[in-house]
């Protein structure tokens, strides 16, 4: 009889203790959410929020017939945008490759001093968005394409550097040992053992970053760094919603094309 009472227990997915902990965790999350919500909306003007649907309808009606005659004027800025992305990616790659080799544990010349510096450069570049870099650079070197190119390059260092140094750390040690065993110098080991192993990853990362950079360079003009974003900013300031919808459609088209190109190229490489 005592054995049967053991079987009468109903099966549950978790133990009571785990359920209690889980419940407590959810409660804490909800409490934190409500607190943050209160803090965030403390100064929100709810009149504007309730008014939003009318505003949306208004903007929508102004945008709706896109002013297609504006399209030819956009071709120059579009070319600039593509150049910002491409030249920026190029600059980023040139700066990121040495940093990646310094940051990778197996190729770093000094683990104690140089590697932390390289890692800090990577984190700093990754945590600051290209728009903020552009904001700074426009203030420093003046508005124009150059500020955009440098901003994109600085932002790309972190992305390319991080992925590339991870690829370097994942290289096959046996191949490196085989090349070293032939009596190769340090540079020769790098060139014949490590570079061939990371080449596909390198091209994949570069093309992927180029695709992201096309998206980012389209909006850099908002802070004055050239490209199609300048036209967007000008149209926003003059409330020319018909032009804005043309610009947005063009950006969307460019992004779709660049994504297609990059996925084709990555499939071909890897």
């Amino acid at each position: 009889m005592t054995e049967l009472s053991h079987h009468s227990q109903i099966w549950t997915y978790r133990t009571p203790r785990a359920r209690l902990l889980l419940w407590g965790g959810w409660l804490a999350l909800v409490a934190l959410f409500v607190y943050c919500w209160q803090v965030m909306t403390a100064r929100t003007m709810w009149v504007f929020v309730w008014d939003a649907p009318t505003q949306a309808a208004d903007i929508g009606s102004r945008m709706m017939p896109p002013r297609w005659s504006y399209l030819p004027e956009l071709m120059g800025p579009l070319w600039d945008t593509i150049n910002i992305a491409t030249l920026g990616t190029l600059g980023g790659v040139i700066m990121a490759v040495p940093i990646a080799f310094v940051a990778a544990r197996n190729t770093s010349p000094s683990l104690l001093i140089l590697r932390p510096i390289a890692l800090f450069i990577i984190v700093a570049s990754r945590s600051i968005n290209s728009l903020i870099w552009a904001l700074l650079l426009v203030a420093i070197i003046g508005p124009g394409l150059l500020a955009g190119i440098i901003a994109i390059a600085l932002r790309s260092i972190g992305f390319i550097g991080k992925l590339l140094y991870e690829a370097i750390e994942e290289t096959d040690a046996k191949q490196i040992e085989a090349i070293t065993a032939t009596g190769a110098s340090g540079v020769q080991v790098l060139s014949y053992a490590i570079v061939p192993q990371i080449m596909p990853a390198f091209w994949g990362i570069t093309v992927f970053r180029w695709d992201i950079n096309i998206r980012e360079s389209a909006i850099l003009g908002l802070v004055g760094a050239g490209g199609i974003g300048l036209k967007l900013n000008a149209s926003l300031n003059t409330l020319a919603w018909g032009q804005i919808s043309v610009i947005l459609l063009l950006i969307l088209g460019t992004v779709v094309v660049s994504e297609w190109v990059s996925s084709k190229m990555r499939h071909a490489i890897i």
């Binding site: 997915y13 999350l29 934190l32 959410f33 943050c36 919500w37 803090v39 965030m40 909306t41 100064r43 929100t44 003007m45 504007f48 929020v49 939003a52 505003q55 949306a56 903007i59 070319w79 600039d80 150049n83 491409t86 030249l87 984190v123 700093a124 990754r126 945590s127 600051i128 968005n129 728009l131 903020i132 904001l135 700074l136 203030a139 420093i140 070197i141 003046g142 124009g144 394409l145 150059l146 190119i149 014949y192 061939p196 080449m199 596909p200 091209w203 998206r215 389209a218 909006i219 908002l222 802070v223 926003l236 947005l248 950006i251 969307l252 992004v255 779709v256 490489i269």
Partner: protein
């Protein structure tokens, strides 16, 4: 015996095997670079003038001034952090049903099409562009930023969740189905345990991304630390700007390390 061993060796080409293609591509690259660089007109006089400012900025970065604008910085920071958390929670909460709907193996075809198009729209639009529109609709301030980040989170989490659900081990789902479980029970007992660790990891990762983005959308008026940074830069207060950038870098580093630690702990 007579055949001598070759004394030199040349590395074979790796990616593009055809020699003619390689030459064509190299010429194409050179032509593009010449064309592209020739259209970049740089006002070198302006750049030279700006170098002094650049030097001041680097000095500001090395000697950041946290105190004189601390009230503005802390307001912006609180806005950014609260915006990040609320938008991630709301975004993940909305993207779970959308992600389930966008998984081909458990959703009917018409729901699949709707959910995938929501994801495509959310992914195709830049955060900044969405922020411009939402600021125009909802007014300035962190509420517009919160909506922007929630919308961007939907595209990110729902897509990865849907792809994850499509790759679950079908045997487990079939085992649960064989017990006579309803659709809800299949989702609850077969799909959820398989995707939950990754979903939590992705949510933490998105929290990290949302903080970074919250520093940017302030530039177009959506509140947060970006607005403070924008003001500091346009007033040429580079020491305060340096302080803000250092705070952003520090928070991102902490968030990245703690989220990667948590993800390792959960998986």
């Amino acid at each position: 015996m007579s055949s001598a061993y070759p004394t030199s060796w040349k590395r074979p080409p790796q990616i593009i095997k055809d020699r003619r293609w390689r030459i064509a591509i190299q010429i194409g690259i050179v032509v593009y670079l010449v064309l592209a660089i020739s259209t970049v007109d740089v006002n070198w006089a302006r750049v030279y003038e700006g170098l002094e400012r650049g030097q001041r900025f680097i000095m500001g970065f090395l000697q950041p001034d946290f105190t004189s604008r601390w009230r503005d910085i802390s307001t912006g920071l609180v806005e950014s952090l609260t915006m990040t958390l609320t938008s991630t929670v709301v975004g993940v909460a909305i993207s779970v049903p959308i992600g389930i709907g966008a998984a081909r193996n458990i959703a009917p075809h018409w729901i699949y099409a709707i959910c995938r198009s929501i994801i495509a729209v959310s992914r195709a639009l830049q955060e900044i562009i969405i922020a411009i529109f939402l600021v125009a609709m909802f007014g300035f301030g962190p509420f517009a930023g919160f909506l922007t980040l929630s919308f961007a989170t939907i595209g990110f989490i729902a897509k990865l969740l849907a792809d994850d659900i499509e790759e679950i081990e079908e045997a487990q789902a079939e085992a649960i189905r064989a017990t006579g479980a309803s659709w809800w029970q299949v989702v609850n007992y077969a799909v959820q345990p398989q995707v939950m660790p990754r979903l939590i990891g992705l949510s933490l990762y998105r929290l990290d991304i949302n903080f970074r983005e919250s520093a940017v959308i302030g530039i177009v008026g959506a509140g947060g630390i970006g607005a403070t940074l924008n003001t500091a830069i346009s007033r040429y207060e580079y020491d305060s700007a340096g302080a803000i950038l250092l705070i952003i870098i520090a928070i991102v580093m902490v968030a990245e390390y703690s989220s990667s630690y948590l993800r390792k702990f959960l998986q």
